[in-house]
């Protein structure tokens, strides 16, 4: 197994709040990692540091051995680390297809050629992507008019247009009714290529145990457990601080 992403000794505090406290993680290619923890435990901060939105006070992130700590999100994205967001970050006044067109255009480096239009090849690529994420019905609807679950899917579809090496999904099922979560995760997981490394932040332990091969448990800015899902979920500290099932 080859290491794709590595975080070493990450520290970050906002005033008196420590959001990352000596975080060390090594992620292997094609791994599926679940990130758990209560609100404010440091999961999203970790995702934000990895993708360059927040710069750590100390420590380093390497992607396939290259240091990307100081890079802008744009550069990190180009290097192959893509993400979705807790609140989907989409182009609300555009249609689903247009959102994907922008994403594909950028990914293929055509976005700045002034007159590259949505040609047949791109239309095909858009349709293929829509198909993969089962979004065909929403093709020409404006995103602002779509329900939250659909937006989650588009947010992820947009993120994978670049065929990322590492994909970070920040709470892909939040805001979706409990009974639909598995269906949503099924769509997501089946839509992703098998060689993509996926880190996803999740609160629902059933989802974590079904879709993750490995789990990182965050508490108070630290990683308190890093193991197979079953092992983490049975960890006493995790039970006490996160899943709340202790005693």
């Amino acid at each position: 197994m080859s290491v794709v992403l590595e975080a070493r000794n990450l520290n970050k505090s906002f005033g008196s709040v420590v959001a990352a406290n000596d975080i060390n993680v090594t992620v292997n290619r094609a791994e599926r990692l679940g990130l758990i923890g209560t609100n404010g435990a440091g999961k999203t901060t970790f995702v934000n540091i990895v993708t360059g939105y927040i710069k750590p006070d100390s420590g380093a992130i390497t992607l396939e051995g290259r240091d990307i700590t100081a890079c802008e999100p744009r550069v990190i994205t180009k290097e192959g680390v893509c993400r979705s967001f807790q609140v989907p970050q989409l182009f609300l006044t555009l249609t689903t297809a247009q959102n994907l067109a922008v994403a594909i255009g950028i990914a293929q480096g055509q976005a700045f050629s002034p007159y590259a239009t949505i040609d047949d090849a791109m239309a095909e690529a858009i349709d293929a992507l829509l198909e993969r994420f089962r979004l065909g019905d929403y093709r020409d609807q404006t995103v602002s008019e779509l329900p939250g679950g659909v937006r989650k899917l588009i947010d992820i579809a947009v993120a994978v247009t670049r065929k990322p090496k590492v994909l970070l999904l920040d709470e892909p099922t939040s805001g979706v009714a409990a009974e639909q979560k598995f269906a949503l995760m099924d769509i997501i997981m089946s839509a992703l290529d098998s060689d993509v490394t996926v880190l996803f932040v999740e609160h629902d332990m059933d989802i974590v145990s079904r879709y993750a091969q490995r789990v990182l448990a965050f508490y108070d800015g630290r990683i308190i457990a890093d193991d197979l899902p079953q092992a983490v979920l049975e960890n006493q500290t995790v039970k006490m601080h996160i899943t709340g099932t202790a005693g």
Partner: protein, 298 residues
Amino acid sequence: MQLASTILIDGLIDASWIFIVAVGLTLIFGVLNILNIAHGNFYAIGAYVAANAVGIYYSGSNPPMLGLLAMTGAALAAAIVLGPLLERGLLRFFYHRDEIVLVLVTYALFLILEDATKLIWGVNPYYAYEPYSLFGNVNVGRMNYVGYDFFLIGLAVFIGIVLWLGLNRTRSGKVVLAVIHDREMSSAAGVNVTKIFVIAFTIGVFLAALAGAFTAPKISVQPGLAVMVVLLSFAVVVIGGLGSIEGAAIASLIVGLSRALAIHLAPWAELFIVYLVMAMMLAVRPQGIFAPTALRKI
């Protein structure tokens, strides 16, 4: 030495005038999020009503000093009529729109009021010169000043303190600050935003009118007043940070002193010194000197 003190005093006098002119604009921006181009019209209207009031007041045998109250009263009356009328009758229909659209709305208002003022008062000049001599003359070194200008410094300080105390030390002031800080949140917390808007807008109009009223004794009140002060106030408000009273005070000092410096030492630069300061300030501190910083959450 004489030159330095002259520049300082000139700068202070100018700064106090600029502050009175601009502070209403920053208040309106802070609370209502409107960059009000019609601010200059309220200034002009203030000058006209004050000239009328002074004309009437001094034609009788009234105590001269109280003429200042007559001017204040005139400005207040204008604000009480115009403020609620324009806020309720016009601006509120545009609140859900982009802030740039609101700028455009006030630009339209500027055009309308420009002609309306002319239709009401005509083009002949009005004067309110009596109060200008109320405070006699003051000598600083070899330099002779008009006492009224020092009175304006006092007035500016007074307005600044009253506004600051009103906002920071009273309950309703704190509510206004809360609205400035986060409109949705305070609305959700049960603040009557509508009421705050009407009151804040009216106070803003009053401050503009007051500035016009107390400038009237120094000038000939006639068409074209409005456009002169709009850009100056803009510059001050932008330099100071949109919506910040303290910022407006500091920015007025900066602008007043740089103007005084320019006029005494490099008079050719007077024309664009304000914009130069503004552009430089924006380049260094885009949010202005005092401005709430917003971090977007993702």
